[in-house]
């Protein structure tokens, strides 16, 4: 098993290097940081612009490959270069990664766990009222883009606030700036900020997971070993949770790890709409400001996150399913 993981890890390292390098080349080739300085009033002298761009390793007059080597040399030492504004990319992204993590952790757990249970229950009661309702609701949620869903949530939240006459749901940012008070006040404030974005994240996940889990569960429900378990004298409920759900959970758990990785940079809309300054938001900003180094760094982070998640899902799969443990 350890050997298998080590080989996988090596594989993934190669993939990260390739993916990140390609992303850098693409960003450096397509984005034009020079335009940030040109056409200003008063015009900035060409020499100054060149000097500034060279300092940031963004000068398009330096051959692409040379810029790449400079950049890659820095990355090897853990330095992702400078943003167009001159700050450190690494520090900036470190802070933002924290924000994203705080945003998605609860949403992801809530979404996947609820989704699994909804799906499993729907499968057990196939073609029942609950099954039909959850199927319908899932398709509605899946059909609504996140942008629309998030805005609906904001409108509903504001309407609710107006209804009860108090600020129950806060719709912008991670915390109220300059809020005074002890730990309890701070925590309550953060929670109020967290509810709506978490909901907007987890609703989609619940929809996806419940469909997925329902199918997995239906496959397992007809299996002979459930009949064997009941023939042993287990109650139906016990047989279903201990034998059916346990077996049907394997694909969902591996899928969970994968979602986690992709969500780290994939919550662009939610972050943008709810004003959380996370990774996803920064990716969009950096493209519009021609920030090559940040784009490359986020791509690197994304590649890392996806592959780490995929490694985690491999490990989880092996832990949960004895059939795949080999070598």
């Amino acid at each position: 098993m350890a050997g298998f993981l080590l080989r996988r890890l090596l594989n993934y390292l190669v993939l990260i290097v390739v993916a990140t390098s390609l992303a850098y080349m693409l960003a450096a080739g397509a984005l034009d940081p020079r335009s940030n300085y040109e056409g200003r009033n008063p015009p900035i002298p060409q020499a100054v612009i060149d000097a500034r761009l060279t300092e940031l390793n963004l000068n398009d007059r330096t051959p692409l490959f040379d810029r790449y080597l400079t950049w890659a040399g820095g990355v090897v030492h853990g330095d992702f270069g400078k943003t167009v504004a001159g700050g450190s990319v690494g520090e900036d992204l470190g802070r933002r990664a924290g924000v994203t993590l705080r945003l998605i952790t609860i949403g992801l757990i809530l979404g996947s766990v609820t989704g699994v249970f909804v799906g499993a229950y729907a499968a057990v009661k196939q073609y029942g009222v609950f099954d039909r309702l959850s199927t319908g609701a899932s398709f509605v949620v899946l059909a609504v883009p996140t942008v629309v869903l998030a805005n609906i949530l904001i409108i509903a939240g504001v309407w609710f606030n107006g209804l009860v006459g108090a600020q129950v749901f806060l719709v912008s940012g991670e915390a109220t700036p300059g809020l005074q008070g002890g730990f309890a006040t701070q925590a309550a404030d953060r929670l109020q900020h967290l509810i709506l974005p978490t909901l907007s994240l987890s609703l989609g996940l619940i929809a996806v997971y419940s469909r997925y889990q329902r199918n997995m569960m239906l496959d397992v429900l007809g299996a002979d070993f459930i009949r064997t378990a009941m023939a042993k004298g287990l109650r139906r409920r016990t047989a279903l949770t201990r034998h059916a759900l346990r077996t049907a959970l394997i694909p969902a758990v591996t899928y969970f790890a994968f979602t986690f990785g992709s969500l780290l940079v994939g919550t662009t809309f939610t972050e943008k709409i709810f004003g959380w300054h996370g990774m996803g938001e920064q990716l969009v900003n950096s493209i519009s400001t021609n920030d090559v180094n940040t784009v490359a760094a986020i791509s690197c982070f994304a590649a890392f996150a996806v592959l780490a998640a995929s490694l985690a899902s491999d490990v989880l799969h092996a832990v949960l399913d004895p059939r795949v443990r080999v070598g």
């Binding site: 070993f225 023939a231 287990l234 109650r235 399913d321």
Partner: protein, 718 residues
């Protein structure tokens, strides 16, 4: 199972069993059980009025073809049918009604008083839990013991059902067990709480014959330990003959004949049972006589005929049969019941199955009961003078065993086929038999590929496949066609029968295939008017006929058949076997017939090759190999097959093989069979050393009879 009864009764005679069984109260009593799926006009009446009772220590066999409702009956008894099944009647377990009981009552009984062994051992165990834990779970549900005690009990049980090294194997996961071992584990689970009744639903159907013999032996041992009554559900009349006390024959959801095993086999009173017995190919009887298929197909359970459900297929049906369904009434000896209006007549006249099935609809008397079947066998030249159609010499196929994802490397070799030689002459059938994993399908695929084999030569109609050009290969494909095992999977569901049969013709550039297609459809005994239908509109036997028609389209000279009848019920199978026989004689075909059923092969083949782990163990004329097998493996294989004849079964000696087939990735040195060979154990050390060191080659012993054993010796085992 009978064996143990005899032992308990203290004598070899059977009255002891009966006497004791009659005294005791039935432990399981099923009365008027009805199971209906769905409602309204589309309702499927799967089980209709099944009644039976089993007493402690008794073994009841329930026999029927697929769709006869035998499995549904047992699931209904266990209360394991899905909620949309509507069950009525009564199921009394030790006097207590359990049909419709609360889940609490049912769970208290299930696994404790009544337990079940299912058909497919591969899927009967939860894949993510250790085998020992699953057995321990069964113990802990009904007994107040600690986890450790339950685990110890699980090991004991595994040991009891004959799993070697039980303490260690208990920690294995189901996928690490072979099919036979998994079925043992399921049996261990079933007897964990000393049940009073064990329902076995086709417990050996998915297993190879030698493993089947082992598992039946384990069931006998399990019954000896628990003294339980057993209900053995199967389609195999041989298994029933050798293992049960009483038989219940089901047809279209209903019992049609019930009685002691001797009554049902020797004094049959119901034409359906007669048909079943007459359509089974017999290991103890050679070919020459065609089998007796039952015409037509079983009725659909949602559209039963108004009268006797067997009436449309019955050779001795009279108008009264179509009016009302006959009741199950006593005939002849006590306890023998049959549902047939002519049962009395059959009894009085003493008609045998052969008489009934060779007669016209008016009854056996019409043509005279002694009319011998007319079977035309064309005159054939002696074997040496006929052309060689297929010649395989020293054929070898090794699969590399690879490991690693990024850096793949070879870690071993699977010796799928390891140097086999045989030939097939014109108008001859060679049966290639062996258990799963012996390499028979690989052999077949190598031949069909028509390319250079890894080692050795294959010559089809005199052409060496290693030297064929693409054009020649295409031409030879016309002469060699294949029929596959699964008739549904091998026919494209989106093509009509016409298109399916037209495809080979069009591929080989034949224009206007219409007349030829109609001719072919008629040739295989189907109605040419059905050419526009799709495969799903046909029954299993008819689909296989379509597959045969497709194979015959190009007028091949050699037909390769991969288990062509193993997916079919016996009554249907007989028809397809007869068709194949008939086609061979009419069209001068040669067959390479791959099968695991030795009885079918005995019936259809002229010569037989027995394979074991990629090698030929024994090859020769069917009569010689079956009547006087010389290789210990052939002997064990033949002795493991139960005969549909209770008298013979009782007097037969069974050679039980130990363990499972070794992995073809690391076959034993010398003789590959030595690890399981009963003969090997009786040899002295120098002889044993020869088996270990020297690989036996096929030696010719007698006329057309070759054996690869150093110490071959004739033995009558059938």
């Amino acid at each position: 199972m009978r064996e143990c009864d005899e032992r308990q009764a203290g004598t070899g005679a059977r009255p002891g069993t009966n006497g004791r069984a009659d005294l005791a109260d039935p432990v399981l009593e099923v009365t008027d059980l009805d199971v209906t799926f769905g409602s309204g006009p589309d309702a499927v009446r799967a089980v209709r009025g099944v009644s039976y009772a089993v007493r402690p220590g008794e073994v009841l066999g329930i026999v029927g073809e697929s769709g006869s409702g035998k499995s549904v009956t047992s699931l209904a008894v266990m209360g394991l049918l899905p909620p949309h099944a509507h069950v009525t009647g009564s199921v009394r377990l030790r006097g207590q009604e359990i049909l419709g009981a609360t889940e609490k009552t049912l769970t208290a009984f299930r696994g404790k008083t009544i337990s079940m062994v299912f058909q497919d051992p591969l899927s009967a165990l939860t894949p993510v839990y250790r085998v020992g834990d699953q057995i321990a779970e069964a113990v802990r549900i009904h007994q107040k013991v600690t986890g450790q005690q339950a685990a110890r009990r699980a090991v004991e049980l595994l040991d009891l059902v004959g799993i070697p090294n039980a303490a260690q194997r208990a920690k294995a996961f189901p996928h690490e067990f072979s099919g036979g071992m998994r079925q043992r584990a399921v049996i261990a689970m079933a007897i964990a709480n000393d049940p009073d009744v064990i329902l076995c639903d086709e417990p050996t159907t998915a297993l190879d014959v030698t493993i089947q013999a082992q598992v039946l032996e384990v069931l006998k041992r399990a019954q000896r330990e628990t003294g339980a009554a057993i209900v053995l559900i199967t389609h195999d009349l041989g298994v029933v003959a050798g293992s049960v006390d009483r038989v219940l024959v089901m047809y279209a959801g209903r019992p049609v004949e019930v009685g002691s095993v001797d009554d049902v086999y020797y004094r049959v009173r119901m034409p359906y049972t007669m048909g079943l017995l007459a359509s089974v190919p017999r290991l103890d009887r050679g070919g020459g006589q065609p089998l007796v298929p039952i015409e037509g197909n079983p009725p659909s359970p949602s559209a039963l005929p108004p009268g006797c459900p067997f009436e449309p297929r019955c050779p001795i049906a009279v108008p009264a049969c179509a009016e009302a369904e006959p009741a199950l009434e006593p005939v002849g000896s006590p306890g023998h019941l049959a549902a047939c209006v002519r049962a009395g007549e059959i009894e009085a006249e003493g008609w045998s199955p052969a008489q009934v099935y060779h007669a016209g609809t008016g009854g056996p008397d019409e043509q005279g009961p002694e009319t011998p079947p007319v079977h035309l066998r064309p005159v054939r030249l002696p074997r040496d003078e006929r052309d060689v159609v297929l010649e395989v010499k020293d054929l070898t196929k090794h699969h590399p065993l690879m490991k690693g994802a990024l850096f793949r490397r070879r870690v071993g070799t699977v010796h799928a086929v390891d140097g086999i030689s045989f030939d097939i002459r014109r108008m001859e059938t060679l049966g290639l038999v062996g258990e799963s994993g012996c390499g028979k399908t690989t052999t077949l695929m190598e031949i069909l590929q028509l390319t250079r084999p890894q080692h050795g030569t294959i010559a089809v109609l005199g052409h060496d496949t290693a030297r064929l050009t693409a054009r020649e290969r295409m031409a030879i494909r016309r002469d060699m066609q294949v029929v596959f095992q699964d008739p549904l999977a091998s026919l494209d569901p989106r093509m009509t029968v016409y298109d399916i049969i037209a495809e080979p013709l069009r591929t080989h550039g034949i224009r206007d295939p219409g007349p030829r297609i109609r001719e072919l459809i008629r040739l295989v005994g189907l109605d040419a008017a059905h050419a526009a239908r799709y495969p799903q509109d046909f029954s299993g036997g008819q689909r296989q006929r379509i597959g045969i028609a497709r194979a015959l389209a190009l007028e091949p000279r050699l037909l390769v058949l991969d288990e062509p009848v193993s997916a079919l019920d016996v009554s249907i199978q007989a028809g397809v076997i007869n068709l194949l026989e008939d086609l061979k004689n009419r069209l001068g075909l040669s067959y390479l017939f791959v099968a695991h059923d030795l009885a079918v092969v005995r019936h259809i083949a002229d010569r037989v090759a027995v394979m074991y782990l990629g090698k030929i163990a024994e090859i020769g004329q069917v009569g010689q190999v079956y009547d006087a097998p010389m290789h210990p493996y052939t002997q064990a294989l033949l002795s493991a097959i139960p005969l549909p004849d209770p008298g013979k079964e009782r007097s037969r000696r069974r050679i039980l093989l130990e363990g499972d087939l070794p992995s073809p990735a690391s076959p034993p040195s010398g003789c590959r069979f030595r690890t399981r060979c009963p003969k090997f154990k009786t040899l002295d050390e120098t002889d044993q050393a020869r088996c270990v060191d020297e690989e036996p080659q096929v030696r010719r012993l007698g006329e057309d009879h070759g054996v690869s054993c150093h110490f071959a010796e004739k033995l009558d085992v059938v």
